[in-house]
Symmetry: C2
């Protein structure tokens, strides 16, 4: 994996060499599924999750022993004190650092969700005192900084991690995610912005104005998805894109979280529409841009619980459903074993 | 609680004395929720679940230590060999007994889901060699049999059970659930029937014909919901209604499962529209009658995973989400504790 001298070309090369699904592992899992003591198809999405997991993990028997939740944390120039936008978040930027301390001491929502899901939590702090540039007036990052952030994200994929839940925390990042989504998929800036952590109508208008300014400044240069990422994205979003790519190479299935996380992953989808086939989306956020983004990347989320917290909370909750699916698949008796008549 | 000499009058009396929500416990939980380190409302349905749970459990701190999954199992005359319907299930009636053995040996889906959710499983077998009468030609049960089945269901609510997931298993019971729903809420028989375990179009037509015959025979007498239950319901459906009622008395919040389970609970809703306020519905089944029934009883399910298995599978999967909600509520730091700035 590239590290300090990473370039966008490296990332494109990795994506080109990404493995496809393991059709044999999928067929093996589906053959077992058909023998289990339930009406065929009656576990619905749980059965689909098993097939997806088998195809991308490629193991028989399936293994779900070491799930990891990785949260990338960064600050954004667009949300810095005195930024041209005049404020895009309901919270001050200091909250990014304060929340890292909360993650470390076990007090955040994601800590509790990881305990329930028996998942390991890793928090990747990305120079919180060095935010990206304000994308309404400059490119957020240089190519080098962006590619290095992607390479940093790749480190979340270590040997033995058998499913990776991705998330983020960063005051201002729903504005960055809106700009990135708009750059990747078009539409009006106002389609992609929303209340985020809870800004009022004036705040939403400031977010839309920031995205509009970003599109005027960078829009013409955003035909290349990686260029869009560096110009209007963020360090944590670049890291998530890198982690998704590394997980594909390592055959580690991925659970994506909400709007910001999916916007980051969508960069890869724009480079190659099959680049996210090893990913599911854990939940549908109430942040309005997320529904549009889900349509754009062709994903149906596992859960729809009205969440809008980020920090991988929806992905970790969906991990519970994946655990349920894999447990049924691994533990159920077959019709023959149980002496149950088939229809 | 009434037992061997139970009557419908006993059940009506119990329902009249049912406690309401504990508004103080609800307010205490919501006050804590507002202080936790997250944007207000950002955990969406998880926060709503906490409020609901607090209101009906009435404890501070909340307690989720001993969840129980209770499955009631019975056979139906309408699905018996040689019944007038000519066959309403994709599986022979022997499968009911075979599945009880599968539950007992740990091979069914619900066994695996209980392991993941750390829930106790109880399977209540209700005289599988004595099915109800075929409701297309007779009343399924006498009042005494039906009231005794309700009383039997009440036994699932024991001291210390702090949440109760309810489900059923019984070949033919989606036809009984369709007849019961039609008796309670009207509409056309064909609106309420569907493929169940997987019957073909001819099978669905036989189910609709069975419901039509039942409505012609019993419809006029079904103005009383308990009369509808005894005439076209089943023993396991009566037991579920009893368990829901007993849980209300014991302040044990309930997670309902799919179509058959909700049809049973709907009997109480027709007696008193507030009778199911201590219940949530775990999931939306793909059995088409379930969506209609959810509208009729005014419930939004927690999950929508395309399940149609029964045996409390959707309720047990939703228990995972409830565990996530309660864990966040109990374990998260407040803004003051974590030193995080509030908006």
């Amino acid at each position: 994996m590239p590290t300090t001298d990473a370039t966008f070309e490296d990332m494109r090369d990795i994506l080109k060499s990404a493995p496809g699904p393991d059709n044999d592992a999928h067929a093996t899992a589906m053959a077992r599924n058909a023998e289990l003591t339930k009406p065929d198809g009656s576990l619905g999405r749980l059965e689909e999750l098993v097939g997806w997991f088998a195809a991308w993990q490629g193991k028989d028997p399936l293994q779900l022993e070491r799930p990891r939740v990785a949260i990338f944390v960064a600050n954004h120039g667009v949300a810095a004190p005195g930024a041209a936008s005049g404020g895009v978040s309901a919270f001050p930027q200091d909250v990014t650092t304060q929340m890292v301390a909360n993650f470390q001491s076990g007090g955040a929502a994601i800590n509790q969700l990881c305990t329930v899901a028996d998942a390991e939590l890793r928090v990747y702090e990305m120079g919180l005192d060095q935010p990206t540039a304000d994308f309404t007036t400059d490119a957020a990052m240089s190519e080098g900084d962006c590619a290095r952030a992607m390479a940093y994200g790749m480190m979340a994929v270590e040997d033995g991690v058998d499913v990776l839940c991705l998330g983020e925390m960063g005051i201002g990042n729903t504005t960055s995610a809106a700009a990135l989504s708009c750059a990747l998929f078009g539409g009006k800036p106002s389609d992609w912005v929303g209340p985020g952590t809870g800004v009022d109508a004036a705040g939403v208008a400031r977010k839309a104005a920031a995205v509009t300014a970003a599109m005027e400044l960078h829009g013409a240069a955003c035909g290349d998805p990686l260029e869009a990422l560096r110009r209007v994205g963020g360090l944590e979003l670049a890291a998530i894109a890198g982690a998704v790519l590394a997980a594909r190479m390592a055959r580690a299935p991925v659970i994506l979280d909400g709007f910001a996380c999916c916007a980051a992953a969508a960069v890869l989808h724009r480079l190659d529409p099959s680049a996210l086939d090893h990913c599911i989306v854990g939940h549908r956020s109430v942040e309005p841009g997320h529904a549009l983004l889900l349509d754009a990347i062709g994903k149906t989320p596992v859960l729809d619980l009205g969440l809008r917290l980020g920090e991988a909370s929806g992905a970790a909750t969906a991990l519970l459903v994946l655990r349920a699916a894999i447990a049924c698949h691994m533990g159920m008796a077959t019709f023959a074993e149980a002496g149950v008549s088939q229809s």
